[in-house]
């Protein structure tokens, strides 16, 4: 059966170290690991953790933007935002599927999210206070996510990599619609410019935190890199992001809330001030501005959907068409 054979004990008589060496050689050759192939238990565990967290982020990530669908300033922006939020729902589905190929069940994953046992991206625990936040999320937050996802599209696990290729294709629209709005608002009326500056001031640091702790505080990273799950570190991706975004935002006349931000001619990189890791860990542990609301919204959606799940299951049973 597809997607479950990872649990089988392979009776090929090979010792564990020999299998591990073979597994690592496959990854070094750029081969993809597929459901059914031998993999170390730790590889599977790390992938389930990462992929389900990623799926939860797509699902919770619909909430901050969804809040503005009814208040979009034009029909055009409303249709764009609707399509973007709908895409994020699809991304959540693609990713849950990838985790399911490793033996995780949807019921378990939903349960982990709703009980708070699983995490999702910290960024969605910040509020969307004005319309300019929507452009900012598209350009900065989706932009940061794309850098991470482009890396993961090359990862060694076939189903995760395929989900990422599909997601990256769709994410470029998310980023560009956001960038277009930031450009237009930053060149708009004084009120629009104030709104835009306010959004950038609030989102800049939380976006940099999206890449996760410094490499020195990411104990999993070396293993993830060795097994081709990650191919670049948190700090490398964060630096790329600042190098791309800082000059563009400044070209629009926007000010970034970092007095230490400056271009280093010698290295060719933008240097930036230190990240408030106390804030980061506070939000991870549940004490961010919107953690409680986000969780309450997910639980309410799950509870409100119970009768639909039950009604459809009862219908399928009655008509004998369950599968």
């Amino acid at each position: 059966m597809y997607g479950a054979s990872v649990d089988d004990i392979k009776q090929d008589g090979k010792a564990e170290p020999e299998r591990l060496a073979e597994f690592e050689a496959r990854i070094a050759r750029g081969e993809k690991i597929e459901p059914g192939d031998w993999m170390p238990a730790e590889y599977r565990k790390q992938l389930i953790r990462m992929i389900s967290q990623h799926a939860h982020s797509e699902i919770v990530g619909m909430l901050p933007e969804g809040a503005w669908i009814t208040r979009a300033p034009s029909l055009k922006r409303k249709l764009i935002l609707l399509a973007k939020v709908q895409d994020e729902a699809g991304h959540g589905q693609y990713l849950y599927h990838a985790a399911e190929t490793l033996g995780a069940t949807r019921e378990e994953m939903v349960e982990m999210l709703l009980t708070g046992a699983a995490k999702y991206s910290n960024i969605f625990n910040y509020p969307t206070l004005n319309w300019a936040d929507i452009g900012t999320i598209g350009w900065l937050v989706d932009g940061a996510a794309i850098m991470n996802q482009t890396m993961l599209a090359r990862c060694s696990y076939g189903p995760y990599s395929r989900a990422m290729v599909r997601i990256c294709m769709e994410e470029n629209f998310h980023k560009k619609q956001g960038q277009e709005q930031v450009i237009l608002l930053s060149q708009g009326t004084p009120a629009q410019r104030r709104m835009m500056q306010d959004a950038i001031t609030r989102w800049w640091w939380p976006t940099l935190m999206m890449f996760g702790p410094h490499d020195t505080d990411s104990p999993n990273t070396p293993t993830l890199v060795k097994w081709g799950i990650k191919t670049r570190t948190n700090d490398e991706l964060r630096q790329d992001f600042v190098d791309q975004l800082a000059p563009d935002l400044m070209a629009l006349g926007l000010t970034l809330p970092d007095p230490d931000l400056k271009y280093n001619e010698e290295t060719g990189h933008w240097e930036f001030g230190s990240i408030d890791w106390d804030e980061f860990w506070r939000v991870v542990k549940g004490d961010g501005p919107m953690n409680a609301q986000r969780m309450a919204a997910r639980r309410r959606a799950h509870d409100d959907g119970l009768w639909v799940r039950q009604a459809l299951a009862a219908y399928a049973e009655k008509h004998g068409s369950l599968n």
Binding site: M1, Y2, D12, A83, R309, A316, S321
Partner: protein
Amino acid sequence: MPDTQWPRFMVFQQMAPGEPLVHNGTVHAPDIEMALLNGRDVFVRRPRAHAMWVTPVECIFAKTAQELADGTWLAGVQDAGGAEEKYHVFGKLHHLGQLDQLGMVEAASAPMAMKRAIEGFGGKPVLVWWVFPAARTLYSDEAEAESLFQFSESHDFKNQAFYPVITMMRQMRAKGKLED
């Protein structure tokens, strides 16, 4: 009744008439008809589709090149006789690719279908093999292709080319330089 996320169904999509189907992923649904509609909603938001197939996940019989490598599994497959039925064959041909439709075989069991698939389509190296019974697959109705899928193509704003941000940024930088 216990809460449920429903069973899983595998979804395959054909982008244009005559093209092989490709594997997309799975959806959860209470029954196979709903699985087809959920598959459309999840996978056909863009760019397009001409046909879609769904089959219950447990109907997929899979083997990877690694599992087949030493030949013992294949050597152990016996034709036990019995009524034959049609099986669809999908295979992954490239490390960076997905599973593509290869064709069809007839066999009395899934392992026999796998064996015949490998004999019939194994000319090039296949990294992952799937076979599943045609009788357990639901196919979108050709006559409904337009109402099921066509609208996905008509949303320009879902295409990144709709947003001329590169030109806009270039203009902004040029303007900044003039003012300096």
